[in-house]
């Protein structure tokens, strides 16, 4: 029996375009970020080996189009999809632009990657994503945030920030590294682990001490810099002190393999944090979006029934409340292109 009567409000099939929220029980994904030369690839290599030895193999995805050699078995490789050199030639781009373009191209197919991850999730313990060397190609690009967000909206996702311990011995470098880490934390809002790599070269205990004791870091800072920025640096180190409080840190050496047990513990803890913090936030956004769609749908339906054009705004009474509601939601959700948004605003104002 068909429910096509005009009085029924359930004539339209339920919209399935919206995801139903992340699957929190799935195996986590780990995004490995870090400055160029901090040892991201080596870290991933070592972690892969470590997990294989434990008989809990990971699922590895390489997102660096410019890397010449990947020293670990990789499951999905961006280089299979886009050829970095070809992009450079075809679009006449510099190295930086080409990396961005490769990521953008990859991004258009990323839903397939996520599908793959979800399908294989029974066979691996953790999914590792190695990112391009240029950190801002990932953190300051549209594709980077799309990849991060779509991962996080599908299953638990953790960000790992790799720091080169040897370079971080310089307090200024250490500070700007930590500020950058902090900025990534604010961008992604995902659970965050700082990994001090290369502990075989320099024991990162100095860093841990700096992080625990603000005075000590201050002293180190005082020794190296001019008075000009001292004041600011001191305030900043106070800020960072706050940052360290809730921060998970791990010291590893990708050469000797020390500290990788801690990495796994940290990941497990972060997944819990993801469930507690990220999921409610995501669900709120989702609920908002659903409500908006609902309002929109109702509007359309009513207009359809009246045989009026969809964007005609003269509607029967009783709709005002919904629109007010929509109005408040609108400034929080970024929907699409500039033109769409301007149109939308114009419509709301006219009302």
């Amino acid at each position: 029996m068909s429910e096509s009567g005009p009085s029924s409000s359930s004539t339209l099939p339920p919209q399935s375009s919206l995801p139903t929220g992340p699957n929190v029980d799935q195996k986590p994904s780990v995004l490995v970020l870090g400055m160029a030369g901090s040892g991201k690839t080596t870290f991933v290599q070592r972690l892969t080996a470590f997990l294989h030895a434990r008989k809990t193999p990971p699922y590895v995805i390489n997102l660096d189009p410019a890397v010449t050699k990947v020293p670990y078995p990789v499951n999905v490789d961006i280089r299979d999809t886009v050829k970095y050199k070809e992009v450079m030639k075809e679009f006449g781009m510099g190295p930086n632009g080409a990396i961005m373009t490769c990521l953008n191209l990859m991004c258009t197919r990323f839903d397939k990657v996520i599908e793959l991850i979800n399908k294989r999730s029974d066979d691996f313990s953790v999914c590792l994503l190695d990112t391009p060397g240029q950190i801002e190609a990932f953190t300051w690009s549209a594709s980077g945030s799309i990849i991060t967000d779509s991962l996080a909206s599908s299953h638990p996702t953790v960000v790992m920030y790799i720091v080169d311990s040897a370079r971080a011995t310089n307090p200024t470098t250490f500070m700007s590294n930590m500020l950058y880490a902090c900025s990534i934390l604010y961008r992604t809002k995902l659970p965050f682990i700082v990994v001090f790599n290369k502990s075989d070269i320099v024991k990162p205990t100095f860093a841990l001490k700096w992080m625990q004791d603000f005075e000590r870091f201050d002293e180190a800072l005082e020794d190296t810099r001019s008075s000009y920025m001292n004041d600011l640096s001191r305030s900043l180190s106070l800020v960072l002190d706050e940052f360290y409080c809730g921060l998970k840190t791990v010291c590893v050496s990708s050469v000797t393999g020390e500290g990788f047990d801690d990495v796994m513990t940290a990941i497990a803890e972060s997944v819990e944090a993801y469930k507690k913090e990220y999921v409610p936030m995501y669900e709120k956004v989702l609920a908002d979006k659903r409500q908006m769609d609902e309002v929109e749908k109702k509007k359309r339906e009513e207009e359809d029934l009246k045989g009026k054009p969809v964007h005609d705004l003269k509607k029967p009474t009783g709709d005002e409340d919904d629109d007010l509601d929509l109005n408040t939601k609108v400034d929080r959700i970024h929907l699409g292109g500039v033109d769409e948004e301007n149109d939308e605003d114009a419509e709301l104002e006219r009302h």
Partner: protein, 270 residues
Amino acid sequence: MKYAQLVMGPAGSGKSTYCSVMHNHCLSAGRTLRMVNLDPACEVFNYPAVVDVRDLISVNDVQEDEELILGPNGALVFCMEYLVQNLEWLHDELDEGEDDYFVIDCPGQIELYSHLPVMRQIVDALKSWDFNVCSVFLIDTNFVLEAEKFISGALTALSAMVAIETPAINVLTKMDLLSERNKQLVDEFLETDTRSIVDQDETAWNEKHRKLTRAIAQVLEDYSIVKFVPLNCEDEESIDQLLLTIDTTIQYGEDLEVKDHYPEEVDPEE
């Protein structure tokens, strides 16, 4: 005293566009800016550069070299280190006179500032050549359209600032590409104090990081050096405003002498 703006920012934030806009703007205002390209990986730019680092070394040269097997990143670092070893070349090329004003287009990689000492060395060299240097850090406005992302942007700018220790102006570029609604949002961010922006949402994440956010907001407020200036490339007024801010920061024009212009004498023999 000479003056220099160091134009920095992540890839795609609009550095080269900024440079060409500045150049054209000053040209029409009768001011001469001397443009410098310090990005060895850059392909094209549409401003006339008096100095181009690619004359010394370019990433392509390095990557084509068969003995050095370097990826794009390693090649860039190699180029910059080579430049630092040849600072005299830069000095000769700049060939600066009194009161000259340079705009220097720098490479975007944050590693060059925070990890490696190269940019710091270049800045120090400029300072030793009697330059007043100011860094202009560009951020694409499209990436800061949320309170948390706004803070993230401020922190990124800060991490570069701390590393090179120059006065800094942070610029929000691509304002012309925003919808009206987002323009209002950015205005709101710029006008209200940072603390009230971040106290709005009550989510678990915010709850956990409240103290940290407050601490960051405190610093951003106390040290007004981390202020953002919006730039709309299509609006002359906005460019003027920004230029004024930068000029004030590097004290350009404070002891400028009045110049009188005579028509150039024409050599009768020519």
